[in-house]
Subunit: 138 residues, 2 copies
Amino acid sequence: MNWSSVPDSVLHDILEAVSFNSDGLITAIAQDETRHVLMLAWMNKEALAETLKTGRVCYYSRSRQSLWRKGETSGQEQHLLSADLDCDMDAILLTVRQKGVACHTGRRSCFYQSVTPQGLTENAAPDISPEQLYHSKN
Amino acid sequence: MNWSSVPDSVLHDILEAVSFNSDGLITAIAQDETRHVLMLAWMNKEALAETLKTGRVCYYSRSRQSLWRKGETSGQEQHLLSADLDCDMDAILLTVRQKGVACHTGRRSCFYQSVTPQGLTENAAPDISPEQLYHSKN
């Protein structure tokens, strides 16, 4: 899909249809091409518009209260392949091509802590150390 | 995994480790065995505890402000296969065996509205009508 070809009027209609919450946000799930769920984050209208226009995933950081262009610091970018809204129009499922890892711990996915009868156990080791992640843009 | 075998002390430690937000909630993503993302919903501590104890997925309905035992009205239950928490401990990925459909519109997944350069298009038709869904417990 060529995201840059989305006409402004279509983009406007999509953004108007989305149901942002009282903080102006929707929930975003990112999965890769194999449907491996990578992370959950948030988007405001500006982040969603930028993501659809550029094809590069941009979230909204609630802690920093600003746009969060995924990979800007770490180099671990997400390229948008497709996007699907849910029935309530307040959650979006992004299918992305993930460069490297999604998690700030250096793991491919943020969902690495499995609930087991023995307690929480890690289901994946880091592919890269956080130090490497945030000191080289590779 | 035999969820009923989770000792109370382990369950207690897991629930204590989870980071519920100021409304007492975490975000829950449900996917099926093929990693098809079905829905996004919310859980409070009670819903998460019940889900882990019984192996039947129970959410918290923000609109009804009460526990929402998935399938209680529609018969479309979710049986828990595994659960993974994310790095921030405020989101959980549930892998479930979905009986029938997850969406109240009768579709398998709630994420049926694809964003395309032509606007929103439906990527799936209902498997069952909402009328059938809520008038028979099959």
